[in-house]
Subunit: 433 residues, 2 copies
């Protein structure tokens, strides 16, 4: 059997990890692929001292890689400008592409897939979502018979590390963020992680597979974890909930909700136990019921595991057909195209924390406003005031309520003279049915 | 595109579930398959009033199905005699086979796969292990780049339901078993479930994929949950452990350990939280690190989800090649063939419960015997005797110890005049590295 020739573009953490995994597990990988996988070219601005490139063609200008005699171009550079050009050029030359680049797929995926289809090549990106967890393959293959009702993922390890530390040790957000940066879990500019952009990129990819929504984060409601206070994590626990930064895609009668936000999850849900930098995605299918896929979301090994799995799949497919790739790696949607709902039409239960004056009648006024808007209070905790303070926190859980309704009620509550400051409100997901 | 013609053999719970899922999600399933999936034949001794068979050829003698004009035979009858004959006959006629029959694959899989290879047809059995969890596909595809270090699964829902009830409610084994039977979770003859045979069938299949061990349960060490006492579940909790009925495949330097037994798991491990009838499989790969796959292990919907996923995979592959099936569905092993270790060479940490006379020197005598055999005591709890009893339970956790060494030590401990009856011993898995 002819070997499958591979070009690795980018020799950073993930590039080097892929290089080493292909070498380390060579026999096993070749057996699974049905042919030899051969790194015949590397595109990298400079060498990585950890990678022995002897016998391998090395291109300093990564675009030159597409002119080499390779079957698969593996894009592990990151960024979206050069990466997009490279991937387009490679596919135009009939080369399959594997990428771990979530931003590239989330922002340019529709264009790239169209080109892949046109050129009958594979465009594979298992590594772009949740690192080592084979969630793309699970949605496309393992759960292919299901109408997916919703999926909910912890798909940013940095954010989950921060929330886990805040809960376990009662520490403040800024404090833990600084530690995450010093540990190398968070970037020097952590905006993408803590503001939910990174999770939104991954959600856009998952939702496009399941609901055929456009590959774009524009329609996604995104709320970061920067405003989260430790006191709300503690109150949530008193109701039996944990707070996680969830990415949710949920089918409604009129369209699909796509949202990333801090979320109260019942502590009995398995995903509530996913701590530290680990990732997990819960998927609810109409036939299979509840499922969960758990693993590392980032790092050289887990990401390389996904990249090499994609290369193996391409090798297998290549060895079967006569050069014409199957449609399965580029023709993706499980369901007919669905509209993304605007944020004001989304519906979730809520956790509310109201800072109220400690005097009679406040609870009754708040309850009246909620009732006027048709919102039920499902649970409530009112604390005694601390000595010397005249405000008490009034904490409650509501039933599932449309965003616009809830915001109207909150405006009225905030206008009460007995209520101080804005009402803290956090979404709740019960993750059932 | 030509439709893919399907014969469903067996119209019990799973057969009817598959029939309904193919109808209910027809559009979605056809889009994912790349062609129409058509139920053109049913083999069943009698009709199922829930399935409308109009327009479908019905064979009362299931063997006649292989003479019908179908591309795929779906075996959902159970049993191993007729099922084996049917599958062999179907493959001999060039038909692909999908089955949910774990006993069939675990007992005759090597023979059946050889015939599948010879006839260049698919033999797919995602539904045979852990129902709706796409674990076969995860091991073959998603984690294909990994040397798997171990896997550990809760893969019998009945057993897990019983253990969950025993822990949550302090109930006795026999009591919960009776309830499980009345709820329909356990068969009238529950032997296969509670003695670990069912789990061993599934473990044989998973291990064959990962370690290329023979498809047979003969070499598997199997211990059921019938002897498990509620008191040990309680003591385990005091050490911070839960007891689960685990199926474990673990690579050692000299071979593979395959074993099914009650197991103490640290309560911090995600799989320790898998309760009731749910299943989960934890897999440790050398590149990906720890992963977990969770879902329903049985039932019409989850099993049909896996059966239809297999049919879709066959349809896709069919639409690519020129009738010649790819090797991926029948040529399975991730790694070179490995020997299965005999039970006496297996190694695990242990939980021990010793019933000792309440008098000085007993602990010292026990500790001396352990030390003589090179066994470390990692943790110990000694309870005060109940009023009127002169025996006290002495409970300890050991380090990881070879089976033969441990059993020698236990024989000496049991021979002490201050020790009453046999020592209760349960394996411990830390599920790390």
């Amino acid at each position: 059997m002819k070997p499958l020739k591979i070009a690795i573009c980018g020799l950073g953490t993930v590039g080097a990890g892929t290089f080493h995994l292909l070498r380390k597990n060579r026999d096993l990988v070749n057996r699974r692929a049905g042919c030899n996988l051969e790194i015949s070219c590397v595109g990298a601005r400079r060498d990585n001292p950890d990678c022995d490139l002897e016998g391998i063609r090395v291109e300093r200008d990564v675009m030159a890689v597409v002119d080499s005699d390779v079957d698969v171009v593996v894009e592990l550079m990151g960024g979206t400008t050069t990466a997009r050009e490279l991937v387009l050029a490679a596919m135009a030359k009939g080369k399959h592409v594997v990428t771990a680049n979530k931003a590239l797929i989330a922002e340019h995926g529709d264009e790239l897939m169209a080109v892949a289809r046109l050129n009958k090549v594979h465009l594979a990106f298992e590594a772009a979502v949740a690192g080592g967890i084979p969630i793309i393959s699970a949605l496309r293959d393992g759960l292919a018979a299901n109408n997916i009702e919703w999926l909910a993922g912890i798909i940013n390890g940095t954010g989950n590390f921060i929330l886990t530390e805040m809960r376990d040790k009662g520490r403040a957000f800024a404090d833990v963020l600084a530690e995450a940066q010093s540990l190398g879990y968070a970037e020097a500019d952590p905006t993408f992680d803590i503001e939910g952009i990174d999770a939104a990129h991954k959600l856009a990819i998952l939702a496009s597979l399941v609901f055929n929504t456009p590959l774009s984060i524009e329609a996604i409601y995104i709320e970061g974890i920067t405003g989260l206070q430790t006191v709300d994590i503690t109150h949530a626990e008193q109701f039996g909930y944990r707070i996680k930064h969830l990415a949710v895609a949920r089918r409604r009668g009129t369209g699909v909700e796509l949202r990333v936000h801090p979320t109260l999850i019942p502590e009995s849900a398995l995903i509530a136990e996913v701590d530290g930098v680990m990732n997990a995605i819960a998927v609810q299918g109409d036939a299979v019921g509840p499922t969960l896929f758990y693993g590392a979301g980032a790092g050289a090994g887990p990401t390389a595991s996904a990249v090499v799995a994609d290369i193996i799949a391409i090798a297998r497919d290549n060895s079967v057909g006569s050069g014409s790739a199957s449609a399965t790696l580029v023709d993706d949607a499980l369901q007919a195209a669905q509209a993304v709902l605007p944020p004001e039409d989304m519906e979730t239960a809520r956790y509310l924390r109201i800072s109220a004056l400690d005097r009679p009648g406040v609870l009754s006024a708040v309850a009246q406003i909620m009732s006027n808007h048709g919102i039920s209070i499902e649970a409530i905790i009112q604390k005694e005031p601390h000595p010397g303070e005249n405000h008490v926190p009034l904490i409650m859980l509501t039933n599932s309520t449309r965003e616009r309704t809830l915001l109207s009620a909150l405006r009225e509550i905030e206008a009460l003279s007995s209520v101080e400051g804005p009402v803290v409100h956090i979404r709740v997901e019960h993750l059932d049915g």
